[in-house]
Symmetry: C2
Subunit: 177 residues, 2 copies
Amino acid sequence: MEDEYADSRIQWSGRSWRLRVYQQTSKDGRVFERGAIEHPGSVVIVPILEDQVLFLSQYRLALNSTILELPAGTRVWEEDWLSCSKRELREETGYRAEKWLALGEIWPAPGISNELMHVYAASDLHWDPLPADDDEEIELKPLSFDEAIAMASNGELQDAKSIVALLRFKAYYAPEL
Amino acid sequence: MEDEYADSRIQWSGRSWRLRVYQQTSKDGRVFERGAIEHPGSVVIVPILEDQVLFLSQYRLALNSTILELPAGTRVWEEDWLSCSKRELREETGYRAEKWLALGEIWPAPGISNELMHVYAASDLHWDPLPADDDEEIELKPLSFDEAIAMASNGELQDAKSIVALLRFKAYYAPEL
């Protein structure tokens, strides 16, 4: 497998991820290119404040629209996953969490990217903000836990990582709901 | 917002998606680039055969590994979503489904891509294969419904779209489980 895919180049490098393009040959001899994103990994967090989950309303360039999602962020290459989560939570919500629960790992888009995402729940929150990234447009949107779970199940919530994180947290914490 | 992001170019075009790169200026005047994938959209399917869910074991170039996931596929630009699902299910599992249930839409990776994914459950399956894509390496892996749900919740299943699709199906079909 390795050899077949050896012919590749970095096509573009951004601040957090890069695009590698592979030259491949199909069974009938046609040469074509396949792209794959090389990604440092990321985190998504379910922040619990009393009976609420802290969601964000965030502008996303790729969609050119503002969507509802949980706090999340891209890791700096080699950054510790939990340190990354703690930093992102303070940057995006203003809260520091004393309690962290690891809820496994997911691949958001394995067809195009090697991004691995660690899922956490965070509770025992205290106001302790870090400056937000200057290129992010974010607004805090607390939802009740029940409302968030309903939206994840009924299709109203469309962000895949947020759905997985919420439903993993529910399975762990409140399987009877 | 539009004007700020107007300065862009197509950096690479593959068979199914392309990378657009935007020139942006930060508040302190630095110019930098941001990438965003332009994607035709995709589908993911929960195929139900008696008390089993038909999973696949599929090689993924971006991960350079073989992962467990539900049947899924990229839409041809402008292709009808349900037609795409019917085609992908026959190509990847060999089965045609008589019953289709729409389970909403998700964004797998809104931080980097505008990919919209339609989620379906498919049942009343009959053997009626279409030739597989010649660049896909796929093996059918049936799992019991209960086992699949457990793996989605406990972290054993890592593919985000498969987790969302299964848990949406469970919420719709068997909320008491």
